[in-house]
Amino acid sequence: MIYREAGQFKTSYTADQSIFPIRQDRIALVLFGLVAVLAVPAVASNYFLETIFVPFLVFAMAALGLNILTGYCGQLSLGTGGFMACGAFFTFKLATAFPELHIVVVFLLAGLGTAGVGVLFGLPSLRIKGFYLAVATLAAQFFLVWMFNKFDWWTNYSPSGVISAPPRAIIPGYFVTGSEAGPITKYLFLLVFVAILALVAKNLVRSRIGRSWMAIRDMDIAAEIIGIRPLWAKLSAFAVSSFYIGIAGALWAFVYTGSVEALAFQIDRSFQVLFMVIIGGLGSILGSFLGAAFIVLLPILLSNAPAALGLHISVELIAHLEFMIFGGLIIFFLIVEPHGLARLWQISKEKLRLWPFPY
């Protein structure tokens, strides 16, 4: 009843091409933004901000990156962890070598560096695809983590191999990295940063380059025949995707955990992000956020559920049960809705348009 676009006419091309063409969507977005900016920091405790909202935003960024590559361009990648490590270590080297550089600039530069690495490891995609490519990207995963772990130049010769984020302020007095950074500042910074980059991604996939990625994904030979150069399309997808993933890695190391070692970016991390993309929905920006929320929240719920139910189970058993439930839920989700949470959202919007009438 409320959600209906009847009577909303578009009178210009700009209006027709807008990302949120329906007025109710725009109102909802503004409300959502207000809640995220004002209500969440006011209501949520520091614990909630640090363990749920901050990792959610960081993972959403990584999922966004992988979704560009796997969801939009159709190139399956298992190297996400390696690229995240790249972003983290590039940021560390840049931030310590040029202390006067603004932290946002450092993040963006590290993202660009990761994009270069991504293009390098994307080269095999010009010859192979599908699972062969997935295994080839594993080479990036293992090689990069090994490199950051092995050569202590990357950690500025720290004996433990752990890098700690130096304190940096976004505007003087408001630290986003280092020990003085408050959770609210971190959260707001991430929120704005991720929102801007998500907007960029949304516009990228609607533009010429995004359409060429989708053409390659849907049928590469046909795409080539209509004049899309696979080399450019694929490598640009690798570059943009690695850019986002690299920044996500940098945010993970600098804003979320504050100190990190190369082993935090093992293959598990790659799978985690891949799960987010698949559960959220391949080829959907919104899906990346939904998937990230799901995968971040699920383990927290699972580990708190037994205590909430009053059951006393050993920690070890809980860990194993978590694995089982996690695996089971993933299979369940794939069977129920292979197109992910984004599709469920789509369906519910369709239903909402007709409500309260049956048709």
Binding site: A136, D220, F275, H320, F323
Partner: protein, 338 residues
């Protein structure tokens, strides 16, 4: 002379030459780079150790190939099947069963597991894109990991079925100190060879084996001549489960049964690239090359760059290989080329 025999003859001749060429190259490097050490007897020793290690990789890769051939599913859970099988076997042995009996019971468990997987996971996902099925097998991977450890605990377990483990010294008349070989690795190689032989006979001569090959060739054609696809899938997953059991026993008695066994699967992936996803001989040869290559690289080249290059060397080898032969050594020619 038929082409197969010709090709086999060519490889039998070429392999020793390749090994010699690799040795000479390394020797050349050792002459140029001062802190690199090279010795022929040591080289051969490392190479044999690597080859025998490669047999174990092949055993894991074999399970992948079987399932990929028959159902087009890239079964990421093969590694956790190995772990689960080994854990179950140890569990039964600890209950007091003789290991042969435990083997039979565990094999039965793997068959049941295969049927459950077919019923619960594969059947509802028929006709979905490959990536969805792949993700589903990652789901199975997590589930089996948790399930196996919930049932049997997560301590490192010893699996001992009486395979000798002492070192053997051979070729003492050629080299001064001879070449050390672990008897256990030899047994593993023999078991691997026996398993491949059994599988080959099974695929070639039995009724079910023929049906499996028909399904691997063309699902639709197989269906239209009356081969029940669902039964075939259950059988293939059972066979892969039993292969996983054998691999689990071998890895388990070599390194102890522990969680890291599940990650062995990752090492089997470059083997698959090298050998081709659909070829059983490919899995064997690929495993041997990866095993030997990675061992030689680790021992001779590793110290130059700080060691532990085993983690990624296999992948880089596979990656370099892909640039020249995207379909793998024995893979189907009709690979999706771009």
């Amino acid at each position: 002379m038929n082409p197969t025999a010709l090709r086999a003859g060519f490889w039998i001749l070429a392999v020793p030459l390749l090994i010699a060429a690799l040795g000479l190259t390394l020797q050349g490097f050792a002459l140029v780079i001062p802190n690199m050490f090279f010795d022929w007897a040591f080289y051969l020793e490392v190479l044999t150790a690597g080859l025998l290690q490669g047999v174990l990789y092949s055993l894991v890769a074999l399970g992948f190939v079987l399932i990929f051939k028959a159902s087009g599913v890239f079964n990421f859970a093969q590694g956790s099947m190995v772990l689960f099988a080994a854990l179950t076997m140890v569990g039964f042995i600890e209950m007091g069963l003789h290991w042969t009996l435990a083997f039979v019971v565990t094999a039965a468990v793997m068959v049941v597991l295969a049927m459950v997987v077919e019923k619960v996971v594969l059947r509802p996902l028929v006709n979905q894109p490959h990536i969805i099925l792949f993700m589903a097998t990652i789901g199975i991977f997590y589930f089996l990991d948790g399930f196996g450890q919930t049932l049997w605990g997560s301590d490192v377990k010893v699996l001992d079925i009486g395979i000798p483990k002492q070192g053997l010294t051979i070729l003492t008349d050629v080299f001064e100190y001879g070449i050390q070989i672990n008897a256990f690795d030899l047994v593993a190689a023999l078991v691997g060879a026996a398993l491949v032989a059994v599988l080959a006979v099974f695929f070639q001569y039995t009724r079910i084996g023929r049906a499996l090959r028909a399904v691997a060739d063309d699902h639709q054609a197989a269906l239209s001549v009356g081969i029940p696809l669902k039964t075939i899938w259950a059988i293939v997953w059972s066979v892969a489960g039993i292969v996983a059991l054998v691999a689990g026993i071998m890895w388990g008695s070599k390194a102890g049964v522990q969680f890291s066994l599940a990650l062995i699967a990752l090492k089997a992936l470059p083997v698959l690239i090298l050998g081709g996803f659909t070829s059983i001989p490919g899995a064997i040869v690929g495993g041997l090359i990866i095993g030997a290559g990675e061992q030689v690289a680790e021992v001779f080249l590793g110290p130059l760059v700080g060691g532990a290059i085993q983690d990624w060397f296999a992948y880089m080898l596979a990656l370099a290989f892909l640039l020249f032969r995207p379909q793998g050594l024995f893979g189907e020619k009709i690979i999706e080329r771009i």
